[in-house]
Symmetry: C2
Subunit: 259 residues, 2 copies
């Protein structure tokens, strides 16, 4: 079972879109796939028509079981997405209080990693969506994943955000015996604007070894897919955006991750 | 002195862009304007070329003075943006630890409101940019502002985020003797996509009384402006995006805010 986390502390860079599109492509190829929503906002959960404010069975229950020192059946928390070979472990808005409530409790950073171990035989792939901030949920994702995907918008302000994300990764890596290998995925690329092409050149100059060598273009079909509540590949596999993610997936599966 | 906060818990909806563009328009009209960056990511601070990781004099110092029970000269924390009539009270990344450190200390939610009172004679307008999460910094912004501007992307997932933002506003309002009046600003409008026009209709059906009746269109010139480190009106006042924000500013100034 391969576990990917999709994270970046900067908001609106395409984390949820990256997670749902890659998972949709894996499921369409017949790989049994689990999506995990670690964002208290619950974008991924809402994407499939669930309500994060009233979620019965979610990631929150994993942390609640830790707080109450009780066992939990992770499989009972899984929900159907309506797409074959694609299941969801949803978010609940109550997760927003976890940092304040459970802050420094022992084992707090390994809750998700332990829960996924309990599911190892059921899925080929797990893709986790993260909130746009550093907190216990992102720490859990970094501890549980084999590899980290970092979507970065191809624009100036995003580069500052990437510096911060990479220094966070190093900081967390030091306290956990090594950070997971990471891949930087340029998103929202618009070849008509100078800001986009210049930002891409800057990204490649500074972080070439960790960059996926292509880009995800701006594509309005992602919004249409989210309105329909369907993973983008199930909505319009031939769109430019989906084609680009399909190329990313082939690249990820064909090489060993850079440390 | 009029104080506006720009907030939405959803990431990437155009908060920083709304703050810097409205402030740029006010400064261009000769109004003495202060931008306040309450986001630990420091997008607004980085926009003007400063480094939020190494900020000497920032919003953080206001909270630090509270923790140490000492006085502070707010005017000494202000920085020059390079644009006439536009000053900046920058963010520092250390602000990300405030929720954990000072959590429930008395007066924690009124630090920014008190600091702005100390600046009342110097500025006509204050515009505050917020982080994409509910925490002590957003609570401070809501307590300090006369009016709240909520940018919302015109797409399906954003509506869920808006519901959450409005219920947060009510929750905070109850504990503070009333929430500030709010205006919903539709952003990233793309009339070519069904998802955009449908989302706008949904927004207007549900929240018409609080909606600005027009929209901010998708405009690639915003990214170009941020790359140049100039407020969008100083970079290209004739762009479609700036024209739309100028119309928003005229509307805001011409009517009494809806409660
Ligand atoms: N390549 C793209 N082209 C055009 N629109 C896109 C693209 N990727 C994502 N979007 C749209 O941009 C918006 C933000 O994307 P998304 O929600 O995936 O970002 P995020 O990083 O998960 O945001 P948050 O920080 O709030 O979790 C969504 O409306 C999505 O449909
Ligand atoms: N109307 C628009 N058209 C096109 N691009 C836009 C528009 N508004 C903002 N942008 C771009 O979208 C990106 C995100 O905008 P911005 O940083 O203002 O959002 P935010 O809500 O402040 O994000 P965060 O949640 O990370 O603070 C930036 O690159 C900005 O230049
Ligand atoms: Mg997301
Ligand atoms: Mg911002």
């Amino acid at each position: 079972m391969k576990v990917w986390a999709v994270a970046n502390q900067k908001g609106g860079v395409g984390k949820t879109t990256t997670a749902v599109t890659l998972a949709g492509l894996l499921a369409a190829a017949g790989r049994s796939t689990l999506l995990v929503d670690l964002d208290p906002q619950g974008s991924l959960t809402a994407y499939f028509g669930f309500d994060p404010d009233g979620m019965d069975g979610s990631v929150y229950d994993l942390f609640d079981a830790l707080a109450r020192d009780s066992a939990i059946d992770v499989a009972a928390l899984l929900h159907d997405t309506g797409t074959d070979d694609l299941a969801l472990l949803p978010a609940a808005t109550a997760m927003a209080t976890l940092d304040r409530q459970l802050g420094t409790r022992a084992g707090m950073g390994l809750v998700v990693a332990r829960a996924l171990k309990g599911l190892a035989g059921r899925f080929d792939h797990v893709v986790m969506d993260c909130p746009p901030m550093l907190g216990v949920l992102m720490v859990n994702a970094l501890a549980a994943c084999d590899e980290l995907l970092i979507p970065v918008q191809t624009e100036f302000l995003a580069i500052k955000g990437l510096e911060r994300m990479l220094s966070t990764l190093q900081m967390i890596g030091r306290s956990r015996g090594g950070a997971p290998p990471h891949v930087i995925v340029p998103t929202f690329f618009d070849r008509r604007t100078r800001a986009s092409t210049d930002a891409l050149r800057l990204l490649r100059d500074r972080w070439d070894a960790h960059m996926w060598p292509r880009v995800i273009p701006v594509d309005t079909r992602f919004r249409d897919a989210s309105r329909a509540g369907l993973p983008p590949p199930a909505f319009d596999a031939a769109s430019r955006g989906c084609q680009a993610y399909a190329s990313l997936l082939r690249w990820l599966q064909s090489r060993q991750a850079a440390p």
